[in-house]
């Protein structure tokens, strides 16, 4: 399989403080990688660098063999989709959120596709018109996830997306991630969840901004 990411000596410094140092990493297309480590070790920063939500202060990131910083950001971010730990739904209804990815691509909203996506995470059709203020934390997280997945990105970056969810919702989210992994999507997930770590093909450990372990 081809390399989808190649990181060479990647570092990130904020306000003079090094957050990540000399990260060297290769990610192969279709891999499911989990990243763990103590809080504040730089795990989320690594995902944000891959998502171009932050820019490395040193080193290079290649995506599909091309320098990440030369690629147009909107198209790149549609292909490498980043999910936040505590997502924010916008607009008034769930529909507003699921319509946004269509709007970005200049396409008309496909209601059937949105309903199928809702059903894939055990949410009923009626949820489409629900006010976002009426949703529970677990429902919001699932809507945010399918908002990222509607157009099947090449890479899915998950930043502790199952933290704080109940066991049933976690299982639904794990099943969704696993389905997309089986279908060939590359997944990098920051997590402390044992089920996710067990399901992954590789485990990375980051400590004090450095990659200290890389287990197959």
């Amino acid at each position: 399989m081809a390399n989808i990411f190649e990181l060479t000596n990647v570092g990130f410094t904020a306000d003079g403080k090094p957050i990540l140092t000399d990260i060297n990493l290769t990610v192969t297309a279709g891999e499911y990688i989990t990243i763990s480590g103590p809080s504040g070790s730089g795990k989320s920063t690594l995902l944000r660098l891959l998502a171009t939500m932050l820019t490395p202060t040193s080193g290079t990131i290649l995506y599909d063999g091309q320098p990440q910083n030369t690629l147009p950001k909107p198209e790149y971010r549609q292909a490498v989709s980043y999910c936040f730990q505590q997502p924010s739904l916008f607009g008034e209804t769930v529909r507003d959120n699921l319509a946004f990815p269509f709007e970005l691509r200049g396409q008309a909203f496909d209601e059937q596709r949105a309903l199928a996506a809702l059903n894939s995470v055990e949410l009923p059709d009626a949820m489409l018109t629900a006010k976002i203020t009426a949703l529970s934390g677990g429902e919001k997280q699932r809507v945010a996830l399918i908002r990222n997945l509607l157009f099947l990105p090449q890479v899915l970056l998950l930043d502790e997306v199952t933290t704080g969810l109940d066991a049933e919702t976690k299982a639904t989210v794990h099943a969704l991630i696993e389905r997309h992994h089986q279908a060939g999507m590359t997944i990098l997930a920051v997590t402390h969840d044992e089920t996710e770590i067990a399901a992954a093909s590789k485990l990375l450990t980051i400590k004090e901004g450095k990659l200290v372990a890389n287990h197959e």
Binding site: L54, S81, F84, R147
Partner: protein
């Protein structure tokens, strides 16, 4: 025209009104007494100076002098709008462009339509009226935009992460800022005649003009302010929102 003359004694009595406002402010501990005193003193000095300057400009009636006065009004309005931008980069240049275009396009249309003549007695007061309204609109829009990017930061980040362009990620904030900027002008237009008898119309009636003619002027002023605040707010907001991002399309403010 005699009814327009306000004697120094009458003005001195009017000071009692300021004292009442100051008294309320002090009693209620609102904390605006310094601003009120500075505001009153500045208004008296600035209006006195501008009164003499306008008398001179109208008397000599030179195009360049009229243009210079309009330029001074626009520069000052831009500076005041910039002060309300609370750190938005390039806010002075953006405000200057927005107020200049809003004011000059509106005046040009009015002159071409022969609604006003290019004489200092008409151009200078109308420029002041337009520039101050655009200044207020832009100032409100900046404040709303700063609050929008602060309060809805996570929503903007989510949109960017989904692959939105800067315009798509900011559109809801920009629209809200333009709406806020234009709200006073629109509200004023809606209540005109039933709540307020606005400045232009009141001034003409004071000066003895038939109210039915004064109305025509006021309608023109209302249209003119709607156009100018709309042009100014749109230009300012569309040039200001990219300042919240860096070259890597990341939210930095």
């Amino acid at each position: 025209m005699n009814n327009l003359i306000v004697s120094p004694t009458a003005l001195a009595f009017a000071v009692i009104l300021v004292v009442i406002a100051l008294g309320i402010n002090l009693h209620e501990k609102i904390g605006l007494e310094r601003d009120m005193i500075v505001g009153v003193i500045r208004a008296v000095i600035q209006l006195t100076v501008v009164g003499y300057v306008l008398t001179y400009i109208i008397k000599v009636d030179r195009v360049w002098l009229t243009g210079l006065m309009v330029a001074i009004i626009i520069l000052n309005a831009a500076y005041n709008a910039y002060k309300r931008a609370a750190g938005i980069p390039h806010a002075y240049a953006i405000s200057l462009l927005a107020i200049s275009v809003g004011t000059l396009v509106t005046i040009l249309l009015l002159v071409l339509a022969r609604a006003v003549k290019f004489t200092p007695s008409q151009i200078v007061p109308i420029s002041g009226m337009i520039a101050s309204n655009v200044m207020v609109a832009i100032g409100l829009a900046y404040r709303n935009m700063n609050a929008g990017f602060h309060d809805q930061r996570q929503g903007v980040l989510e949109r960017l992460a989904l692959g939105a362009s800067l315009k798509q990620a900011s559109a809801h904030i920009v629209r809200a800022a333009i709406r806020t900027g234009m709200a006073p002008t629109i509200d004023s237009a809606k209540t005109m005649g039933i709540v307020s008898l606005p400045g232009m119309m009141s001034g003409l009636i004071f000066a003895g003009v038939n109210p039915s003619k004064a109305i025509m002027y006021q309608i023109m002023v209302t249209f003119m302010l709607l156009a100018a605040t709309s042009i100014g707010s749109v230009i300012a907001c569309y040039l200001a929102y990219p300042q919240f991002y860096n070259n890597d399309m990341q939210l930095v403010r």
